[in-house]
């Protein structure tokens, strides 16, 4: 357990843990806020009161997630300074500025309108409420864009040069839209949409299976299923593109993910290992189950294309924790394919006959497969994040700054204590969330709710605010 005395390792674990805990919440709020925009717009368009009740019901779950997202996001921003001061110093001129931009342009928009979205139902007109919900959704997605652009810059720094250990921006356009940005943003954003589709659809399926409010939940199930049919195939395509990015820009990471040690000779294809146990000391896989030529096909689109093996790179430039990378990647791919299959199955069932509430309720196995899918998106996101960030090692800024050079020199005891604190507190938060979310879902929707007109007229201009009137 000598890593317990290594402050850099502890700082990495702390950042990894706090990030992976944080990511759970925005993944759902980004997707769910768009879902809320859709049901609210449908309510205004059709006048169907069930859509209003859907908005009210799901926004409770939204608030629970949003609160956790806010509180767990704050430690991340501060950790760049507390635990990664040399990195902040080197990258701050661009990286910090993107974080500031995220706070001002995106996060503030979200936080500024979320109060009206949740508590303003009886205080503003329906159209204004829809506007507030849309701003929350826009802020959430814009936030994802900026955070992923910053993260992408660490994977493929661009748009400037390093001088005296400090990054100087030459072109903001190139730095923000660095080679990794299009893939990082789209793959993550679609992951949020996909996870949310299967959570909303899966919860709806659970109610339908129980026979509770079947026609009510058939509406949300149909919406989620329609979304899944679009995003599940899209995500597989984006995943493939992200993989090609790694092959071209981060070949050591690609070789590590695939457990590929020896560059294939010309005229021979590289095999893809379905299962294997990579051994860093032996510089080989202890055992493996392989499909011939598949890695060459995936990475180069030709059966005999050359793929550099991990032995091409100096040991100190290879990513650590090879089995973790290898299996995280395969888990993510497996889940992506399961969700794709489920989306196609649903589309097929939908194509055979119209998905009325009764028709949905009759498809027991399809519904069970949806309930099973509720946690899978989250698992895939975490696994993908491990592949992305552990695979980036040993660099904090790829090819420029080593992670060990980016850490603040702190005593191991201090970092260990804060890491222990986060472990304890976040476990408690997760338990509290589980208890309250369960309570919300058991309680179900309030089917007696009716939209009421806003009290007073909040848009009066030139009127005296009541504070003044009540002055004694």
């Amino acid at each position: 357990m000598e890593w317990l005395a290594d402050p850099v390792m502890l700082a990495r674990l702390q950042f990894a843990f706090t990030t992976m805990f944080h990511i759970i919440w925005p993944v759902f709020t980004i997707g769910l806020s768009l879902f809320l925009v859709v049901v609210e717009a449908l309510w205004l368009k059709t006048g169907e009161v069930d859509y209003y009740r859907h908005a009210r019901f799901w926004s409770k779950l939204f608030l629970l997630n949003f609160g956790l997202g806010i509180v767990t996001g704050l430690p991340l921003e501060f950790q760049f300074g507390t635990n990664w001061a040399p990195f902040s110093n080197m990258a701050g001129g661009f990286f910090g500025n993107v974080l500031g931009f995220e706070g001002a342009a995106a996060f503030m928009l979200e936080a500024g309108f979320v109060g009206i979205m949740i508590f303003g139902w009886e205080r503003v007109a329906p159209a204004m409420h829809l506007f507030a919900t849309s701003m929350v959704a826009l802020g959430a997605s814009a936030s994802a864009f900026w955070i992923m652009a910053a993260s992408a810059w660490m994977q493929s720094p661009a748009g400037g040069y390093f001088e005296n250990g400090v990054f100087q921006v030459q072109s903001y356009l190139e730095a923000i839209f660095n080679p990794n940005t299009p893939w990082a943003v789209s793959h993550m954003w679609v992951a949020c949409l996909e996870t949310s589709c299967f959570v909303v659809g899966g919860i709806s399926a659970w109610y339908i299976l129980k026979g509770q409010s079947v026609s009510f939940y058939a509406r949300s199930f149909r919406l989620a299923a329609a979304g899944a049919v679009v995003v599940a195939p899209l995500q597989v395509w984006l995943g493939d593109g992200s993989g090609l990015f790694i092959v071209h820009h981060q070949p050591a990471k690609a070789a590590a993910i695939e457990g590929h040690w020896q560059t294939n000779a010309p005229g021979e294809g590289a095999a893809w290992a379905i299962l294997a146990w990579p051994d860093a000391a032996a510089q080989a896989n202890r055992w493996s189950v392989q499909v011939p030529n598949l890695l060459s096909l995936l990475a180069t689109r030709t059966p005999h294309g050359q793929v550099p093996g991990l032995r091409e790179f100096a040991p100190e430039d290879r990513p650590p924790a090879l089995p973790l990378l290898f299996y995280s990647f395969r888990l993510m791919v497996l889940i992506g394919l399961y969700l794709l299959t489920l989306a196609l199955w649903t589309a097929w069932a939908w194509g055979r006959r119209r998905l009325t509430a009764e028709a949905i309720a009759a498809q027991r196995w399809l519904l069970r497969a949806w309930v099973f899918a509720i946690p899978l998106g989250y698992v895939a996101v975490e696994a993908g994040w491990i592949v992305r960030e552990v695979g980036r090692q040993p660099w904090v800024i790829y090819g420029v700054m080593r992670t060990s050079d980016g850490a603040s020199p702190l005593p191991a005891g201090a970092v260990g204590a804060s890491l222990g604190g986060f472990l304890l507190i976040y476990t408690a938060l997760a338990i509290a969330f589980a208890v309250f979310a369960r309570r919300l879902l058991r309680h179900g929707p309030d089917l007696t709710l009716r939209p009421s007109p806003p009290q007073g007229e909040p848009f009066r201009t030139g009127a005296t605010p009541p504070e003044e009137e009540e002055r004694p």
Partner: protein, 337 residues
């Protein structure tokens, strides 16, 4: 020295000051209400206090995120140095903020309201104290060489920092009481008037102690304040703080509605101006000047376009939020949870 860069760096010093003021005032009253709830015995009153914030607190806390991000981008070495040297208070503040925010979100779901209320109050108290400690540590000077922290991990702790912490604590309580005067009525409002009076006196006492102690302890402050003609330019700041305090006491006596909060904010602004006047042109007294630590010109321009021009927009929709949730709060008020 490039005059354009000098100008941009000073503009950003000003913008960061503005963002910090916005955070301190807006989250200050939010935290203040939380602290006051600690010595509130009636559950129904605590319910009202919590309700009065539910529509607006997210945005108030978000100013800290904006401030930290802007500091990170505009003055990267300051961001790393301050947070690294203040590892313990910053981590404690983060934990306290988690407690107060999560208690806010969860209390409506929980069956044991008292426990969540306690977490809300203690979290607010912890946030105020650690922020005050951090202020004291920064004013005391952070030991650094070439922008790298050379001090001890416990270096932030000092009697001076304890006094600044008290000042911030009572200041937040005052702001919270001012907010409650506006948002509540009856018994709760009477109580808020009383809290505002004693917290105002205690804040002024702590403020006076800090003002007397700093020039004695730090030569750079003495030089700044007690030399001619500086003293003539700077004297209006303490004078207006004193004047605002007089007006605050008068407003409390006459039971005005909005003015107690406004005069409390005025005291904050004057004290804040005094602090800025003491440390300028340093970002961190004795360690880094504005010019030594600001990012390159292109970064500052880009941030000005991205963040600076957004501040008025943010202010507009934040103000709209207060307009929507205006008026008195009571236990049965609709539209809240």
């Amino acid at each position: 020295m490039d005059p354009v860069h000098l100008f941009l760096s000073n503009v950003w010093f000003g913008i960061l000051g503005l963002l910090l003021v916005l955070y301190v005032v807006l989250d200050g009253f939010t935290l203040g209400v939380g602290i006051i709830s600690l010595f509130q015995r009636k559950e129904a009153h605590r319910e009202v206090m919590s309700k009065s914030l539910s529509g607006v607190w997210d945005a108030n806390e978000s100013w800290l995120v904006v401030f930290a991000g802007a500091l990170f981008g505009a003055f990267p070495p300051v961001y790393g140095l301050v947070l690294h040297s203040l590892y313990i208070p910053v981590m404690l503040m983060v934990v306290a903020l988690i407690f107060r925010s999560i208690a806010f979100e969860f209390r409506s779901h929980g069956r044991h309201k008292q426990r969540w209320n306690l977490a809300f109050g203690l979290g607010s108290l912890g946030t105020a104290v650690t922020q005050g400690m951090a202020l004291g540590a920064v004013l005391s000077g952070i030991p650094a060489q070439g922008g790298v922290f050379t001090g001890s991990i416990w270096g932030w702790f000092s009697p001076f920092a304890a006094v600044t912490a008290l000042g911030v604590l009572f200041g937040y309580i005052l702001l919270g009481a001012g907010y409650l005067i506006v948002k509540t009525e009856g018994e709760l409002q009477d109580q808020a008037y009383r809290v505002a009076r004693w917290s105002g006196w205690l804040m002024m006492a702590a403020g006076a102690a800090v003002s007397a102690w700093t020039p004695l302890r730090f030569a750079y402050v003495e030089e700044r304040w007690f030399s001619w003609p500086n003293i003539a330019y700077l004297a209006p700041l303490p004078l207006s703080a004193g004047g605002a305090f007089f007006m605050l006491l008068r407003a409390l006596r006459r039971r005005y509605l909005l003015s107690p909060l406004m005069w409390s904010v005025a005291i904050f602004l004057a004290s804040f101006g005094g602090l800025a006047a003491s440390i300028y042109p340093y970002m961190l007294p004795g360690a880094l000047t504005i010019m030594e630590s600001s990012a390159a010109g292109i970064t500052l321009v880009f941030m000005l376009a991205g963040i600076g021009f957004l501040i008025p927009v943010m202010l507009v929709y934040n103000a709209y939020q207060y307009l929507v949730f205006r008026g008195k709060v009571s236990v049965r008020s609709k539209g809240y949870r």
